[in-house]
Protein backbone atom coordinates (compact mmCIF):
# COMPACT_ATOMS: atom_id res chain seq x y z
CA UNK A 1 0.00 0.00 0.00
CA UNK A 2 2.86 2.34 0.85
CA UNK A 3 4.57 1.67 -2.45
CA UNK A 4 1.35 2.45 -4.31
CA UNK A 5 1.11 5.76 -2.46
CA UNK A 6 4.67 6.71 -3.32
CA UNK A 7 4.22 5.72 -6.95
CA UNK A 8 1.05 7.76 -7.10
CA UNK A 9 2.86 10.87 -5.87
CA UNK A 10 6.00 10.50 -7.93
CA UNK A 11 4.42 10.89 -11.39
CA UNK A 12 2.24 13.46 -13.06
CA UNK A 13 0.03 13.84 -9.98
CA UNK A 14 2.88 14.96 -7.75
CA UNK A 15 4.66 17.72 -9.65
CA UNK A 16 1.71 20.04 -10.42
CA UNK A 17 0.92 20.21 -6.70
CA UNK A 18 4.52 20.97 -5.71
CA UNK A 19 4.89 23.50 -8.54
CA UNK A 20 1.63 25.26 -7.68
CA UNK A 21 2.58 25.36 -3.98
CA UNK A 22 5.96 26.97 -4.71
CA UNK A 23 4.33 29.33 -7.22
CA UNK A 24 2.01 30.45 -4.43
CA UNK A 25 4.99 31.07 -2.13
CA UNK A 26 6.62 33.17 -4.86
CA UNK A 27 3.40 35.15 -5.29
CA UNK A 28 3.27 35.81 -1.54
CA UNK A 29 6.81 37.20 -1.62
CA UNK A 30 5.89 39.42 -4.59
CA UNK A 31 2.77 40.50 -2.70
CA UNK A 32 4.90 41.61 0.26
CA UNK A 33 6.98 43.70 -2.14
CA UNK A 34 3.81 45.19 -3.64
CA UNK A 35 2.59 46.24 -0.20
CA UNK A 36 5.93 47.99 0.18
CA UNK A 37 5.27 49.87 -3.06
CA UNK A 38 1.89 50.91 -1.68
CA UNK A 39 3.09 51.91 1.78
CA UNK A 40 6.01 53.91 0.39
CA UNK A 41 3.68 55.40 -2.25
CA UNK A 42 5.65 54.30 -5.30
CA UNK A 43 3.50 55.43 -8.23
CA UNK A 44 1.98 54.03 -10.39
CA UNK A 45 2.08 50.72 -8.49
CA UNK A 46 0.07 51.62 -5.38
CA UNK A 47 -3.09 49.71 -6.39
CA UNK A 48 -1.28 46.63 -7.63
CA UNK A 49 -1.21 45.00 -4.17
CA UNK A 50 -5.00 44.53 -4.06
CA UNK A 51 -5.31 43.57 -7.73
CA UNK A 52 -2.53 40.98 -7.52
CA UNK A 53 -4.17 39.34 -4.48
CA UNK A 54 -7.32 38.60 -6.48
CA UNK A 55 -5.16 37.23 -9.30
CA UNK A 56 -3.08 34.66 -7.42
CA UNK A 57 -5.74 33.99 -4.78
CA UNK A 58 -7.26 31.50 -7.20
CA UNK A 59 -4.30 29.26 -6.53
CA UNK A 60 -5.64 28.44 -3.04
CA UNK A 61 -8.68 26.38 -4.18
CA UNK A 62 -6.48 24.89 -6.92
CA UNK A 63 -4.01 23.79 -4.23
CA UNK A 64 -6.81 22.08 -2.29
CA UNK A 65 -7.82 20.18 -5.43
CA UNK A 66 -4.23 19.33 -6.38
CA UNK A 67 -3.50 18.11 -2.84
CA UNK A 68 -6.39 15.68 -3.16
CA UNK A 69 -5.52 14.70 -6.73
CA UNK A 70 -1.88 14.03 -5.83
CA UNK A 71 -2.97 11.75 -2.97
CA UNK A 72 -1.10 13.91 -0.50
CA UNK A 73 -1.24 12.83 3.16
CA UNK A 74 -4.33 13.96 5.07
CA UNK A 75 -2.22 16.42 7.07
CA UNK A 76 -1.03 18.12 3.85
CA UNK A 77 -4.56 18.25 2.48
CA UNK A 78 -5.72 19.88 5.72
CA UNK A 79 -2.90 22.42 5.42
CA UNK A 80 -4.10 23.34 1.90
CA UNK A 81 -7.58 23.82 3.30
CA UNK A 82 -6.24 25.99 6.14
CA UNK A 83 -4.43 28.13 3.55
CA UNK A 84 -7.68 28.58 1.62
CA UNK A 85 -9.51 29.74 4.76
CA UNK A 86 -6.67 32.06 5.85
CA UNK A 87 -6.54 33.62 2.40
CA UNK A 88 -10.30 34.20 2.38
CA UNK A 89 -9.99 35.93 5.76
CA UNK A 90 -7.05 37.92 4.40
CA UNK A 91 -9.10 39.38 1.54
CA UNK A 92 -11.96 40.20 3.95
CA UNK A 93 -9.93 41.99 6.67
CA UNK A 94 -9.20 45.25 4.77
CA UNK A 95 -12.94 45.73 4.26
CA UNK A 96 -13.15 46.41 8.02
CA UNK A 97 -10.79 49.39 7.80
CA UNK A 98 -13.56 51.98 8.19
CA UNK A 99 -15.62 50.32 10.93
CA UNK A 100 -13.02 48.31 12.85
CA UNK A 101 -9.49 49.47 11.99
CA UNK A 102 -7.98 47.45 14.86
CA UNK A 103 -9.37 44.28 13.27
CA UNK A 104 -8.26 45.40 9.82
CA UNK A 105 -4.75 45.78 11.26
CA UNK A 106 -4.69 42.00 11.67
CA UNK A 107 -4.40 41.88 7.85
CA UNK A 108 -0.63 42.32 8.28
CA UNK A 109 -0.34 39.62 10.95
CA UNK A 110 -2.49 37.21 8.96
CA UNK A 111 -0.20 37.80 5.98
CA UNK A 112 2.68 36.41 8.04
CA UNK A 113 0.61 33.35 8.95
CA UNK A 114 -0.40 32.85 5.29
CA UNK A 115 3.27 32.99 4.31
CA UNK A 116 4.28 30.46 6.98
CA UNK A 117 1.49 28.03 6.04
CA UNK A 118 2.34 28.44 2.34
CA UNK A 119 6.00 27.58 2.95
CA UNK A 120 5.03 24.56 5.08
CA UNK A 121 2.63 23.40 2.38
CA UNK A 122 5.24 23.83 -0.37
CA UNK A 123 7.82 21.87 1.65
CA UNK A 124 5.33 19.08 2.28
CA UNK A 125 4.13 19.11 -1.33
CA UNK A 126 7.68 18.60 -2.57
CA UNK A 127 8.48 15.85 -0.06
CA UNK A 128 7.45 12.27 -0.56
CA UNK A 129 5.70 10.77 2.46
CA UNK A 130 7.64 8.36 4.68
CA UNK A 131 6.37 4.92 5.55
CA UNK A 132 3.98 6.28 8.12
CA UNK A 133 2.35 8.36 5.41
CA UNK A 134 3.50 11.70 6.80
CA UNK A 135 5.90 14.03 4.99
CA UNK A 136 9.49 13.31 5.97
CA UNK A 137 10.31 17.02 6.45
Amino acid sequence: MIETGLAGRSGWRFWPFAAAAWLFVACVVVQFFLVGLRVFDVKPWTELHADFAYLYGWLTPVLVLLAAASRAPARTQRLALVLLVLFAIQTFLPLLAADAPWLAALHAVNALVVAWVAVRLALEASTKPDRSGTPSR
Partner: protein, 140 residues
Protein backbone atom coordinates in the same frame (compact mmCIF):
# COMPACT_ATOMS: atom_id res chain seq x y z
CA UNK B 1 23.61 23.98 30.09
CA UNK B 2 20.04 22.73 30.22
CA UNK B 3 18.88 26.07 31.64
CA UNK B 4 20.72 27.93 28.88
CA UNK B 5 18.89 25.87 26.28
CA UNK B 6 15.52 26.79 27.76
CA UNK B 7 16.55 30.44 28.00
CA UNK B 8 17.53 30.36 24.30
CA UNK B 9 14.21 28.77 23.33
CA UNK B 10 12.30 31.26 25.47
CA UNK B 11 14.24 34.17 24.00
CA UNK B 12 13.52 32.91 20.48
CA UNK B 13 9.78 32.82 21.16
CA UNK B 14 9.94 36.30 22.71
CA UNK B 15 11.57 37.44 19.47
CA UNK B 16 8.82 35.84 17.36
CA UNK B 17 6.17 37.49 19.54
CA UNK B 18 7.92 40.85 19.16
CA UNK B 19 7.95 40.48 15.36
CA UNK B 20 4.25 39.59 15.30
CA UNK B 21 3.47 42.61 17.50
CA UNK B 22 5.62 44.82 15.28
CA UNK B 23 3.75 43.62 12.17
CA UNK B 24 0.46 44.32 13.96
CA UNK B 25 1.67 47.85 14.73
CA UNK B 26 2.41 48.28 11.02
CA UNK B 27 -1.18 47.24 10.28
CA UNK B 28 -2.44 49.70 12.90
CA UNK B 29 -0.57 52.51 11.14
CA UNK B 30 -1.60 51.48 7.63
CA UNK B 31 -5.30 51.01 8.40
CA UNK B 32 -5.59 54.20 10.43
CA UNK B 33 -6.23 52.71 13.85
CA UNK B 34 -3.27 54.78 15.03
CA UNK B 35 -0.11 56.37 13.72
CA UNK B 36 3.04 54.69 12.42
CA UNK B 37 5.13 56.11 15.29
CA UNK B 38 4.63 53.07 17.59
CA UNK B 39 5.72 50.81 14.72
CA UNK B 40 8.83 52.90 14.12
CA UNK B 41 9.73 53.19 17.81
CA UNK B 42 9.18 49.51 18.64
CA UNK B 43 11.12 48.59 15.51
CA UNK B 44 14.39 49.74 17.05
CA UNK B 45 13.94 47.07 19.73
CA UNK B 46 13.99 44.23 17.18
CA UNK B 47 17.74 44.40 16.33
CA UNK B 48 18.50 44.53 20.07
CA UNK B 49 16.35 41.44 20.66
CA UNK B 50 18.04 39.64 17.77
CA UNK B 51 21.44 40.39 19.34
CA UNK B 52 20.26 39.00 22.69
CA UNK B 53 18.89 35.96 20.84
CA UNK B 54 22.24 35.39 19.13
CA UNK B 55 24.03 35.49 22.49
CA UNK B 56 21.43 33.15 24.00
CA UNK B 57 21.73 30.48 21.28
CA UNK B 58 25.52 30.79 21.31
CA UNK B 59 25.68 30.26 25.08
CA UNK B 60 23.29 27.32 24.72
CA UNK B 61 25.54 25.98 21.94
CA UNK B 62 22.60 25.19 19.70
CA UNK B 63 24.59 24.88 16.46
CA UNK B 64 21.76 24.77 13.93
CA UNK B 65 20.51 28.09 15.27
CA UNK B 66 23.71 30.16 15.52
CA UNK B 67 24.20 30.94 11.81
CA UNK B 68 20.48 31.71 11.30
CA UNK B 69 20.67 33.98 14.36
CA UNK B 70 23.65 35.82 12.83
CA UNK B 71 21.67 36.22 9.61
CA UNK B 72 18.68 37.39 11.66
CA UNK B 73 20.79 40.09 13.31
CA UNK B 74 21.97 41.30 9.89
CA UNK B 75 18.42 41.32 8.48
CA UNK B 76 17.11 43.17 11.55
CA UNK B 77 19.81 45.81 11.11
CA UNK B 78 19.02 46.18 7.41
CA UNK B 79 15.31 46.44 8.27
CA UNK B 80 15.79 49.63 10.26
CA UNK B 81 17.73 51.21 7.38
CA UNK B 82 15.40 50.34 4.46
CA UNK B 83 12.73 53.03 5.10
CA UNK B 84 15.45 55.69 4.86
CA UNK B 85 15.55 55.04 1.10
CA UNK B 86 11.91 56.03 0.56
CA UNK B 87 12.82 59.25 -1.28
CA UNK B 88 15.99 58.39 -3.19
CA UNK B 89 15.34 54.72 -3.91
CA UNK B 90 11.68 53.86 -3.17
CA UNK B 91 11.96 50.43 -4.80
CA UNK B 92 14.66 49.57 -2.27
CA UNK B 93 12.51 50.93 0.57
CA UNK B 94 9.65 48.74 -0.69
CA UNK B 95 11.73 45.72 0.30
CA UNK B 96 10.96 46.60 3.95
CA UNK B 97 7.91 44.25 4.13
CA UNK B 98 9.76 41.49 2.23
CA UNK B 99 12.61 41.70 4.72
CA UNK B 100 10.07 41.65 7.53
CA UNK B 101 8.71 38.40 6.11
CA UNK B 102 12.23 36.93 6.04
CA UNK B 103 12.81 38.04 9.65
CA UNK B 104 9.52 36.53 10.78
CA UNK B 105 10.06 33.18 9.07
CA UNK B 106 13.69 32.94 10.18
CA UNK B 107 12.76 33.82 13.76
CA UNK B 108 10.13 31.08 13.72
CA UNK B 109 12.60 28.52 12.36
CA UNK B 110 15.12 29.43 15.09
CA UNK B 111 12.43 29.23 17.75
CA UNK B 112 11.36 25.75 16.63
CA UNK B 113 14.96 24.51 16.49
CA UNK B 114 15.85 26.03 19.85
CA UNK B 115 12.75 24.47 21.40
CA UNK B 116 13.58 21.07 19.93
CA UNK B 117 17.16 21.44 21.17
CA UNK B 118 15.97 22.32 24.69
CA UNK B 119 13.67 19.33 24.72
CA UNK B 120 16.42 17.08 23.38
CA UNK B 121 14.48 16.10 20.27
CA UNK B 122 15.86 15.72 16.79
CA UNK B 123 15.67 19.10 15.02
CA UNK B 124 19.01 20.29 16.42
CA UNK B 125 22.03 18.51 17.86
CA UNK B 126 25.10 19.82 19.63
CA UNK B 127 28.07 20.24 17.28
CA UNK B 128 30.51 19.08 19.91
CA UNK B 129 30.52 16.14 22.27
CA UNK B 130 30.34 16.47 26.03
CA UNK B 131 32.37 19.24 27.64
CA UNK B 132 35.82 18.19 28.97
CA UNK B 133 34.59 18.52 32.55
CA UNK B 134 31.70 16.17 31.77
CA UNK B 135 34.11 13.67 30.17
CA UNK B 136 36.35 13.84 33.22
CA UNK B 137 33.38 13.24 35.48
CA UNK B 138 32.36 10.23 33.37
CA UNK B 139 35.91 8.84 33.55
CA UNK B 140 35.83 9.12 37.33
Amino acid sequence: MKAARYVAAGMAWVFVAAVVYQVFLAGVGIFGAGGLAPHRDFGYLIPLLSLVLLVAVAVARAPSTILPAVLLLVLAGVQTILPWFRIEAPYVAALHPVNALAIGLLGFVIARRATAFARGTALARPAEGPAPAELAAQAD
